[in-house]
Subunit: 141 residues, 2 copies
Amino acid sequence: MPQSVPDRQEEAHRLVAAVAGRTTAMRVNVLAILLATPHPLSHLDVLAALGEGVDRVTVYRVLDWLTDAGLAHKLAGDDRVWRFAAAHSTPHHHAHFHCQHCGRFYCLDQISTELPVVLPSGFVAEQIEITIKGACADCRR
Amino acid sequence: MPQSVPDRQEEAHRLVAAVAGRTTAMRVNVLAILLATPHPLSHLDVLAALGEGVDRVTVYRVLDWLTDAGLAHKLAGDDRVWRFAAAHSTPHHHAHFHCQHCGRFYCLDQISTELPVVLPSGFVAEQIEITIKGACADCRR
DNA sequence: ATCAAGTCGCCACCCGATTGCAATAAGGGT
DNA sequence: ACCCTTATTGCAATCGGGTGGCGACTTGAT
């Protein structure tokens, strides 16, 4: 079905197979799409990239599975929509850019979220999420 | 109706009156609740604090109005729920803490979001949102 | 006191996400 | 290569935070 995702298929297959759990076509295809895209994708984006005849719920579950398996990141935007990005090369901790105009998300690999934060006593940080909002290069024209 | 919010009522009234637009009981009450709470509240939290007989939709609109008026901040959490905090003393740019266990949000006034970020060319930052996830002091016990 | 414009309250509705369950496919054991 | 167990998929229904529409009611300027 996804002739629009030619490459990354093998890479995705290798990554999925390396994880405990079954290696299904759906998981491989979805991961291939995420790998081929430089910015985080919404569930709807993934569904569109897969083409017709794919069940929404399955994609939800596959994306969650990929997230649990550590192969993808899940991030929440202001529009109450989940975005997913492949975890692959990108270091696990980086910031995101959210364009207020076109709504697109970008990964800002250069910006680390490894901040030396000082929390109130008793608080323990497990993860830091940084989202920069503004206008992307495309929308500035 | 809100005998549970004794103080802050006058302060809230003063703040609402200082803004262009009508000074309604609903706006004053909701702002008083936000002022009386040290951490951001969800729409449901506010509704519960107001007591019975208050319309959901009105609270949604009041919260949006307060946000537009600059009297409250609106922030998105992982659970796809808006949280609102009084803008009052708190500097406009600060980080938030999200407890993964109890789901509560805290304002981290000490941590500024005035970072010297370097964006790809053409990108313009308008706002930076930092959310630190982990376990709060209460849940660590 | 009057009255137009701004708000409130109730209705139904939107849409992303989730749950339940039967049908199907993956892959280990033989 | 086949079978059988079990995880995954597909479909339908549902959930739940949030929104739009519109008549009734306040607000506050006149």
